[in-house]
């Protein structure tokens, strides 16, 4: 089962984990492993960050995340895939993204989770703008390394 959410409000990892665990109607005790990744707002700039503004393309965002999860589901034997991505103004330390995957197999859970994060980073239409404490602001540039991480899934399982 795939669950996608794009939302302003925060998410609770414990609660999301319980949702992944409790898909027992279909999976019973077949879940062997659950892999989770969350991303947070870092404050690494010399100029202190007040918050990160997350802009997105409503409609396409959900469609893109859904397609990413479906691709993961086709490549690995997953049970559930849950993706949450926040939008709006997020302070340093706040959670931005959640990807959780349950599977009968540990390798499938890990791979589908990491794949989803890597593809999301280069294909889901979100844009970050840093808003600094001193009033300065600037759009975050896309990173080559993210493109490379996404591309490595093209030629290897």
């Amino acid at each position: 089962m795939i669950s996608i959410s794009v939302q302003e409000k925060d998410f609770d990892v414990g609660e999301e984990y319980r949702q992944l665990q409790s898909d027992d109607t279909s999976a019973g005790a077949n879940i062997g492993g659950i892999a989770i990744f969350t991303g947070q707002v870092r404050d690494l700039t010399e100029n202190p960050l007040k918050f990160m503004r997350l802009e997105h393309y409503p409609g396409m965002t959900e469609k893109s995340l859904q397609q990413t999860a479906e691709q993961a589901e086709e490549r690995w034997p997953t049970i559930d895939i849950r993706i949450i991505h926040r939008i709006g103004d997020l302070a340093p330390g706040e959670q931005i993204v959640f990807v959780g995957v349950s599977s009968a197999h540990r390798d499938a859970a890990f791979s589908a989770c990491e794949f989803s994060m890597d593809i999301l980073k280069t294909s889901a239409p979100f844009w970050k703008k840093e808003q600094h404490v001193d009033g300065a602001s600037g759009w975050v540039d896309a990173k080559d390394v993210d493109q490379q991480r996404a591309e490595r899934w093209q030629d290897s399982e």
Binding site: G39, Y57, A124, F126, W127, A142
Partner: protein, 82 residues
């Protein structure tokens, strides 16, 4: 047709949405990008970077993708979510 702009492009252009007829001779989204640059210096500056991504009907596509008047078209910089 509806052309949407996001992120730094939206900010540079001062608009998130343009309602326009598909210009004569424009058959692909790459050609639309070229055509829009003729609207003025701000458009040329924002759209002429060689670093613009395309979506047609909410799917990311390449510059050779055909478009028509009823499509929802979007132009935006490389994405930075996650």
């Amino acid at each position: 047709m509806k052309v949407l702009f996001f992120g730094s492009l939206r900010e540079q252009l001062g608009t998130g949405e343009l309602n326009t007829a598909l210009p004569d001779g424009v058959k692909t989204i790459g050609q639309l990008l070229q055509s829009l640059q003729s609207q003025g210096d701000a458009w040329k500056l924002a759209l002429g970077t060689g670093n613009v991504l395309f979506a047609v009907n909410q799917d990311m596509v390449d510059e050779n993708t055909a478009i028509n008047d009823s499509d929802e078209v979007a132009l935006f910089p490389p994405v930075t979510g996650g």
